[in-house]
């Protein structure tokens, strides 16, 4: 098992965030295609709940409570003792389970396989979606021109 230093936290934050943001159907499709089925025991079975999202007055001032979002969380342990956690957007329990399995597997020898089969395709799809939206937004950017008054 790895001992997580600061940098490794950053790496883990990266994959946990990617898994949390992903659409359930997309994650499950990648996972099922990868054909991994590690044995595990629940430390905490998937549970649906709410997280209160906060904002800041004037974007940078005092924090305030904006409203909740639905979240599903779970924790599990692989046979070799690796522990995986998931706190993912939405109410899909299986999405949380698969995210926690990926989190656990990413901490060992299967990391490369999980990254190639699940994380990289999810990241690429998310990046492409963001790129398309940004490109459409860019096409609606106003180009001002000033009318010069005649002499």
């Amino acid at each position: 098992m790895k001992d997580f230093t600061r940098d490794e936290n950053a790496e883990r934050r990266g994959w946990m965030g990617l898994l949390a943001r992903s659409a359930a159907a997309e994650l499950l499709a990648q996972w099922d295609a990868a054909g991994m089925a590690p044995a595990f025991t629940w430390l905490r079975a998937p549970e649906v709940g709410g997280v209160m999202v906060r904002g800041r007055a004037g974007a940078v001032g005092a924090a305030f409570n904006l409203g909740e979002m639905t979240v599903t969380r779970c924790s599990l342990k692989l046979a070799d003792g690796r522990v995986g956690h998931a706190v993912v957007q939405g109410r899909d329990r299986r999405k949380a389970e698969v995210a926690a399995l990926c989190d656990a597997l990413m901490q060992g020898d299967e990391a490369g396989a999980v990254r190639a089969a699940v994380l990289d395709p999810l990241a690429a799809a998310a990046k492409e979606r963001a790129r398309v939206r940004a490109a459409k937004a860019a096409a609606t950017k106003v180009d001002f021109f000033t009318m010069v008054r005649g002499e």
Binding site: V51, V53, A59, F64, N65, M69, T70, H85
Partner: protein, 363 residues
């Protein structure tokens, strides 16, 4: 006085069965799916998420279907559902400066870095009914340009550089009170007011904002910036000991820049109002910013001119459409016993009044 009266179960069951049938409508017309509502009535979904105070587009779409499109009823369903959810915690405050913007306009700075990006807006449409939508058909794909990769800076930061705008400060104790956890107590303070406004009824908040524009507590707003887009949500996970992204939400943010000639306590400067709302909800976000600014009169040392939008108690106690509709609509439910006593009272008063009249006539 409320007295339980039995009876009516069969009538109620039959009424609900008929409701289900009416909800479905003409069965020769294809049934709406929740996914269709989520994708094609997205702004209704956004309003239900904002005022239901729960970000979950599928649930909001389901609520709209169940409520037959009655959005306040749908918001009611969402509010009821969210009370059943265990609270896992509070997120870190979202960083709207990191927003991937679909839309970003400023009415104050034409050449703001990042530019004026219109996004998928109704602005500049002619508001003529488009009968082409009656026919099914493919939509042309939107044009694309070179996507912006850098983050889009907040417009108010430019005014801040000159020291011309009131600064926002993070208070020492930055744990805001939470309306969903404790009853509303006054004075509320700005964080609690912002929570009430962001989940408040769009029509009410719009009306209040409009009243300030018409002169009831005028505050000279410009839309310094309006942005709509996606931001990640982070939360600290105790098991991990660090924070991770738990998802992302679409938000609309409005910052107003308000002319301010100074007061006893503050120099002349621009002041700000703030709106932040779930989803693409810009009418609500602009309204929220105007009302937020009006409610800040005391902290800015302005006069209270007695305008409704300056009255924290009035605004906060009447902004919630679920509280309002609950109290309003309960009067249509059976009040037979109450009314019996009212009837007795009016009959007695009439008898006394008539006796009095006869006596006067006799004298």
């Amino acid at each position: 006085m409320y007295v339980a009266v039995k009876g009516g179960e069969r009538a109620i069951d039959n009424a609900h069965a008929w409701l289900a049938e009416e909800r479905r409508g003409d069965v020769s017309v294809a049934e709406l799916s929740v996914a269709q509502i989520r994708e094609q009535l997205a702004l209704a979904v956004n309003r239900v998420m904002a005022e239901g105070s729960l970000y979950d587009p599928d649930l909001a779409a389901l609520a709209i279907k169940q409520s037959r499109g009655d959005l306040i009823e749908a918001i009611f369903l969402i509010r009821a559902y969210r009370t059943t959810l265990p609270r896992f915690g509070y997120s870190e405050p979202v960083e709207t400066g990191r927003m991937a913007c679909d839309r970003r306009v400023s009415a104050t700075f034409k050449d703001a870095p990042g530019g004026q990006v219109l996004g998928p807006t109704f602005d500049y449409t002619h508001r003529l009914l488009d009968f082409a939508l009656e026919a099914e058909g493919l939509v042309e794909e939107a044009a694309t340009g070179a996507p912006r990769e850098a983050e889009t800076p907040h417009v108010t930061a430019f005014l801040n550089a000159e020291g011309l705008i009131q600064e926002e400060h993070v208070p020492e104790d930055d744990r805001p009170r939470d309306l969903t956890r404790e009853p509303l107590e006054l004075p509320a303070g700005r964080p609690l007011r912002l929570q009430a406004l962001t989940r408040g009824d769009e029509g009410f908040v719009l009306g209040m904002a409009y009243s300030t524009q018409r002169g009831y507590g005028r505050n000279h707003p410009f839309v310094g910036e309006l942005r709509i887009g996606t931001v990640p949500v982070e939360m600290e996970v105790p098991e991990l000991g660090f924070s991770v992204e738990i998802g992302e939400v679409v938000l609309t943010e409005c910052e107003t820049v308000n002319q301010f000639t100074g007061s006893k306590s503050e120099p002349p400067q621009f002041t700000r109002g703030y709106g932040l709302v779930f989803g693409q909800t810009e009418r609500k976000a602009i309204s929220m910013a105007l009302v937020d600014r009006a409610l800040r009169w005391e902290e800015l040392g302005e006069d209270n001119v007695g305008a409704p939008a300056q009255n924290e108690e009035f605004v906060l106690y009447h902004s919630d459409n679920i509280q309002a509709t609950g109290f309003l609509e309960h009067i249509k439910l059976p009040h037979y016993v109450d009314f019996q006593s009212e009837l007795e009272l009016v009959r007695k008063l009439r008898r006394e009044a008539m006796v009095g009249e006869k006596r006067e006539a006799a004298e």
